[in-house]
Amino acid sequence: MFERKVIIASRVGLHARPAAIFADAVGRVPVEVTIAMDAEPVDDAMDASSILSLMSLGAAHGDVVVLRAEGAGADEVLESLAKILETDLDAE
């Protein structure tokens, strides 16, 4: 199990547009990725390819979330996905 903590960079938090971009990216990677708020137990982690899960997480600008994945290449996948969340997607 690989883990990667990320600080949400989007000014509006993980709202519709950033969530759509991120969910789309997760949908394209070969492994299953979960997302949870930093302090929450692993069992509460949600499917990161689900835009509705991402939105219902309610992660605001500056919040820390944890991405998790297993299997070959999972660490590189998490690194590339983390970069998306570390970008202010609304500024583009």
Binding site: V12, H15, A16, R17, A19, A20, A23, D24, M46, D47, S49, S50, I51, L52, S53, M55, S56, G58
Partner: protein, 567 residues
Amino acid sequence: MTFTDRAVPFTGVGVSPGRVLGTVRQMPAPVSEPPAGERLAASTSADDAVAALRAASKAVQAELKSRAERAHGDAKAVLEATAQMATDSMLIKSAVKHINAGLSAERAIWEASASVAEMLLNLGGYMAERATDLFDVRSRIVAELRGVAAPGIPASATPFILVAEDLAPADTATLDPAQVIALVTSGGGPQSHTAIIARALGLPAVVAAVGADGIADGAEVYVDGTAGTVVVDPGAEEVAAADAWATTASRLVDFDGNGRTADGHLVPLLANVGGAKDAVKAAAAGAQGVGLLRTEFCFLGRDSEPSITEQVEAYRGVFDAFPDKKVVVRTLDAGADKPLPFLTDATEPNPALGVRGYRTDWTTPGVLERQLAAIATAAEGSTCQVWVMAPMIATVEEAAHFASMCAAAGLTTPGVMVEVPSAALRSEFILGHVEFASLGTNDLTQYTMAADRQLGPLAALNSPWQPAVLQLIGMTVAGAVAEGHDKPVGVCGEAAADPALAVVLTGLGVSTLSMTPRALAAVAAVLASVTLDQAKHLAQLALAAPSAAAAKERVRSELPILAELGL
């Protein structure tokens, strides 16, 4: 015209002129909720139902994606996110669980969406608004599963006449004027959203045409947006009328930028605009200024107040379109049909009579003060004459307070909207504190007649031709005269866009008329056909009429140019 040998035409209220022929596309009925506990049909296995659900959600996603490709800006982003919701793993997993427990696919997706929507609603603000998108996705999936038309404005390869029970702002936001050539509703009134959007887009429209929602999809009809009639299977007379309109409509596009009566009495014709883009178009259409800048465009669809810098930029865009001309800015008019999460209380039992317009300054002080500061900053360095008015002023005290706020912000021409009958009655004293008044006839009519603007059954009461409304307009002008400083009283409601009513308003002493830019040419043409004395005479005729219908008929019968122009 006789219709004895054919079906009786549907009769409603004509709210936007024009005579056209076309094919009817009915707005599909809203998708009904599948009954609670609806089980899988005995012949359907759970696996089949899951497969059907997945296929339906993919089809909905494809449709939404193709819509997103055709959209721009914010609408595109929302549609892209909504398309993703359609096949969302959390949503589908939850629905599959319900199906495996024995529910029908329709009921399963209904319940799964409801629980996800509840989570979004609990987050509040922007996320809560996304629940609306999820409900739209849900309706589309259920319609797909049932094999019925998707909700919303129908897609069609050819232009059509849209017939609906009524249209909500969310429906008209996706209305493509290149596709829809006329609007007909069985409900709604002359001041309904449908009517306003039809006039803004220049589409012929008939509202409150009872029974029109029963016209067969694909039927050929004739729509007369002046007379308020809809004829199924039109004959030679209607074809000729539509042809004649196509010819006159093309003549009614030019306005020389100088509103006046036949004897040279000047009545500046201004435009109602909702942002810089509108303002540029209005200036190109010859508008002599802006009589109503709706500032809500800066605020709507947001969960927090825009910064002063953002506002300054937005207002300046409008001012720049009208150098050396007048621009009347209406301060934020939130509430009632224009709720704002950070300003208005959506749970009010009677929002039209609630904390709206100027009144939001009492419950959320600061927003108005900052808006005035932004307007003043935007006005600096502009050659445009910036006037500012507050909506929903009811008392002299409120007018005086608003004037003092304007003065503190450095704005020299404060004014008020006259929409509440009390303000019309007290205009002499209100104008003692401010420099001008502008009549908002839509709200003035609904408040005078105690008739909700949106209700079809009250359409007749909601006519600005009501003699009581005209009398209040006359009293507002009389108050301005009595005040003694010749302070202007304009009209910026939908009434000003009706060429016949524009003549009556001029005769009542109104000094400027502000309207949707589409109406400028028609109003100018009719106004130029009468002298000021004739306008005064027509105003007296209307005031003396026993009803709105009689007032309209009497005035129209004395304005032969209306028939000539097909208005």
